[in-house]
């Protein structure tokens, strides 16, 4: 089925999320919708899926104009969507999830016909080689398998246009490859696939057509043969270099040692970090790689003291940290860039200036004897905004109004304003545009070159490769191994899935 969007415009108040977007998706093709976070990709797809009403424009399917009042209409018309966050009931079986909202009944008693759903799952699973057991409970499936269940769900409703919203964010490199293979098969069987992503590598790997969206507008189309640099500059609107210049590390003495640390969630009893030991030396970047949810976040939070350690100890410059307050750990020279910047990094309804002193406010010169000096705070903010290129209307603007990238710059500027011994940055560039990524990476490498021991927690392999001097891979709360930065993608991918590497750590 051919899908066409004409002049779709969607506004939220004064903000135009989609501005007269035209898009044609041919059957049997993979159409990549490429754009930075916040460019309007998801809004466009939500309009298409009937979740939002467009302010202007029309949707045509096989050249007939259609209107969708809700997702039900869109599904009935043959559009399927796999959301970034899965819409599955964990305690239901695969078959039950697939029939959910579409239940078939049999017999006079109108019993649920699970058998039919089971057959449907089995048929689709066999056809595309999904290897999914219809009776397995969803909660027991891996993330990649859950995603395939979502795809089966869409296909079981005879979707002829399948929208995948950032499908690879939660996958290991191997799972990503598997997904891309599935997508190719779907295309070959005649389905039109819309792949929403900001990952250039994937786009180049599978897309037949690429449409680039920037600030709610289509800024161009590209061939898959275009280079990553070309695609990136189209996405950002200016030239960007994809690799950051990084000299060889000159590591000094170990600064931070993590010894046999275990972190257990007190409420649930789940062990997030299991007997982890590692050390970071001055002037090197240790990247902690792994698929999300394998204990990296908890490890970083335990080092700062946000989470208590069940046992083991953390030693900074010869001093044991465990049991000290976060404040004391910050004072001891830990810089911390939290994974979730809006929740943990900034106070959204504080001004930029105040967020820049969120952990400096009670030190001189920002305050004296309990009184904050607004003039100093303002001057400091103006300097930092300049230095870190924070795009804001004023230092007195509310931080919540800034884009994710600019909020991240605020956090980074604040943390780097102190004398650091260790910098811990979790997912430092998640959700950032290519331009900001480049900037953040540069700053982190500068810190390393100043002799700071740096720990980067990242689930993006590109980022790990761009920054790491050594790579620690975590799986199920344990460090699988610590390897050199030139370890190839496949090996790292296997390690991220729990397989031990044969190579020894550098």
């Amino acid at each position: 089925m051919k899908l066409e969007l004409r002049g779709i415009t969607k506004k939220f108040g004064d903000f135009t999320a989609n501005d007269a977007i035209d898009l044609v998706v041919e059957p049997g093709t993979i159409h990549a919708l490429l754009g930075e976070n916040g460019a309007g990709k998801s809004t466009l797809m939500n309009v298409l899926f009937g979740l939002y009403d467009a302010d202007a424009g029309e949707i045509l399917m096989d050249d007939d104009a259609v209107t969708f009042v809700g997702p039900g209409d869109a599904m009935a018309a043959g559009i399927g969507m796999v959301h970034q966050h899965f819409m599955l009931v964990p305690v239901f079986s695969v078959a039950e999830n697939v029939m959910l909202g579409h239940e078939q009944v049999k017999g006079p008693a109108k019993l649920l016909d699970v058998g039919a759903a089971r057959d449907k799952v089995r048929e689709l699973s066999d056809r595309f080689g999904f290897d999914i057991d219809p009776d397995a409970l969803v909660e027991n499936l891996s993330v990649g398998a859950q995603q395939r269940v979502e795809i089966i769900k869409a296909l079981s409703r005879d979707a002829e246009v399948l929208i995948l919203d950032e499908p690879t964010a939660v996958l290991t490199p191997q799972e990503t490859d598997e997904l891309l293979e599935i997508v190719r098969q779907l295309r070959d069987s005649g389905t039109a696939v819309v792949l929403i992503t900001h990952k250039l590598r994937e786009v180049k790997a599978v897309a037949d057509t690429i449409t680039v969206i920037r600030r709610g507008k289509v800024v161009g189309t590209a061939e898959p043969s275009a280079s990553q640099e070309e695609l990136a500059s189209l996405m950002v609107g200016r030239d960007v270099s994809m690799t950051v210049d990084k000299g060889a590390a000159d590591p000094g003495e170990p600064v931070l040692r993590v010894e046999n640390v275990t972190v257990v969630n007190e409420a649930s009893g789940v062990t997030h970090v299991d007997d982890v030991s590692l050390e970071v030396r001055a002037g090197e970047i240790l990247a902690v790689a792994g698929v999300q949810g394998n204990g990296q976040t908890e490890l970083a939070e335990a080092i700062l003291g946000l989470l208590p350690t069940a046992h083991g100890q953390i030693i900074l410059d010869g001093n044991v940290l465990s049991g000290r307050s976060i404040r004391q750990n910050l004072d001891a020279g830990i810089g911390f860039v939290p994974e979730d910047r809006t929740e943990d990094g900034v106070v959204a309804d504080f001004t930029v200036a105040n967020n820049l002193i969120l952990d400096l406010y009670d030190r001189e010169p920002y305050s004296r004897r309990g009184a904050i000096d607004p003039q100093v705070v303002r001057t400091h903010a103006e300097e930092q905004v300049e230095k870190f290129d924070v795009r804001t209307t004023s230092t007195q603007a509310l931080t919540g109004a800034l884009s994710g990238g600019n909020q991240q710059k605020v956090v980074l500027a604040r943390e780097l304003a102190r004398e650091l011994k260790v910098l811990i940055a979790s997912q430092p560039t998640r959700g950032l545009d290519v331009g900001s990524i480049e900037f953040v990476h540069k700053r982190i490498i500068e810190e390393r070159d100043k002799g700071v021991a740096v720990i980067i927690v990242s689930s993006e392999l590109d980022e790990v490769y761009a920054l790491a001097d050594r790579i620690a891979v975590m799986y199920h709360g344990k460090v699988v191994d610590i390897v050199a930065p030139d370890t190839d993608r496949d090996t790292l991918g296997l390690m991220m899935a729990g397989a031990h590497s044969k190579e020894e750590a550098a």
Binding site: F12, G13, Y52, G305, S325, V347, F350
Partner: protein, 408 residues
């Protein structure tokens, strides 16, 4: 500030979903624009006017023969409105019909006197609201403060100035202790402050009732639950002479408003309070002790509520009874919300409420209306403030930016 003993225990005051909801409601109210607040007051007064018309005797009489002579009903309505609003004005602002200057301005000084305890307590509650604490306990804190201050006032014999000073400090300490309890429990165990403060209101009230049965608190030779009058030396001096009730407590309240402004906008402590209120997780990650903030906020709010008690026992009433607190502790919640928890707003809202209170008797005597009209108007204000979208739709105001859905 020594903080490690109480603070970074794993008893990180866990934010349950209920807490988030309270914070969401608080934030919604605090962010409502001044225009919405003003319009809420206007709408309340207008609806109050409707009630006045229906409560009026003449209107009801005329309404009996409405269909034969509707004009009578309408003119009676108009007359009722005019007489009610005139009475309000004369009771709360100035009385132009008075022969003397004293009589002319007395209503306004009465308004300020009535506003004084509301300013104190409202300031304290406002600090809590901005720090993410929904403190319902001003009533109990006020009573305990009043009890301690009153006791110092009537039982001790100290020289002038010193006696007042000690009694005022006693009020503040009494309230601070009563505020410390819920703050400490929240910091240490995560106990929800709404429940704890409500319970402490009852405990405070009954504690004072019991104290008033003791010989030490009772008026000699009386069995009634009423204390002796506090010594002259411990009373707030009247600042406009003996013809007016306005006392020094009002100036102290204004001074406290400046103090609270400085605390919240300029001090490191207030910075912590605001951070803990807006985003406790980010505050914690930045090394602040959110638990410590909760305790400090509740102690300061309690002390201010205690000072509200001083305005009663050392100012207007001069004695301690179980009715000392009236409904000040609860009205102060409205005052703080109406003033958007900012000191200036709180002072203005307190004066508005003081005015409504001061107008009550005039309304009754002059316009023949039940005093309850005033409470209805207060309640309507609460209703409108709690539902900013309602006010916006009535007056067709634009929605604030933060309520718009911005999708990526």
């Amino acid at each position: 500030m020594s903080d490690t003993s109480v603070t970074e225990k794993p008893a990180d005051p866990k934010d349950g979903p209920g807490d988030d909801r309270v914070r969401g409601v608080l934030r919604g109210i605090l962010e409502s624009s001044t225009l919405v607040v003003v319009m809420a007051v206007v709408a309340s007064l207008a609806i109050g006017g409707l009630l006045v018309m229906f409560a009026d005797e003449d209107v009801r009489e005329a309404a009996v023969y409405f269909f034969s002579r509707p004009g009578d009903t309408f003119s009676a309505m108009g007359a009722a409105l005019v007489s009610a609003y005139t009475a309000m004005f004369q009771g709360a602002v100035v009385n132009p019909s008075s022969e003397t200057f004293v009589g002319f301005i007395r209503p306004f000084t009465q308004t300020l006197t009535m506003a004084t305890p509301l300013i104190f307590a409202g300031l304290g509650l406002g600090i809590g609201f901005r720090a993410g604490l929904f403190n319902i306990g001003a009533q109990g804190q006020l009573l305990i403060g009043a009890a301690l201050g009153a006791y110092i006032g009537f039982a001790w014999d100290l020289p002038w100035v010193l006696h007042l000073l000690v009694a005022v400090i006693g009020c503040a300490i009494g309230g601070a202790v009563w505020g410390f309890i819920p703050g400490f429990l929240k910091a240490r165990t995560g106990a929800h402050e709404v429940i704890v403060t409500i319970m402490l209101n009852y405990i405070g009230l009954n504690l004072v009732a019991w104290l008033l049965t003791l010989e030490a608190f009772q008026r000699p030779g009386s069995n009634n639950p009423i204390s002796p009058e506090v010594a002259d030396a411990a009373q707030y001096p009247l600042i406009l002479g003996s013809q007016f009730n306005l006392h020094l407590g009002f100036l102290l309240a204004i001074a406290c408003a400046f103090g609270v402004w400085w605390l919240m906008e300029r001090s490191t402590l207030g910075f912590e309070f605001r951070a803990a209120g807006s985003n406790p997780r980010a505050a914690r990650t930045a090394g602040m002790s959110v638990a410590k903030s909760y305790i400090f906020v509740m102690v300061i709010a309690g002390a201010l509520a205690g000072l509200a008690g001083s305005a009663q026992v050392l100012g207007t009433e001069k004695v301690l009874t179980t009715a000392t607190a009236g409904s000040i502790g609860f009205d102060a919640i409205t005052v703080a919300l109406l003033g958007r928890s900012r000191p200036l707003g709180t002072v203005m809202a307190a004066i508005l409420f003081g005015g409504l209170r001061a107008a009550g008797p005039t309304l009754q005597v002059q316009a023949g209306l039940p005093v309850d009209i005033v409470f209805v108007i207060q309640a309507l204000i609460v209703l409108f403030i709690a539902a900013p979208p309602l006010v916006r739709s009535i007056f067709r105001l634009p929605a604030p930016a933060n309520e718009k859905e911005v999708a990526a």
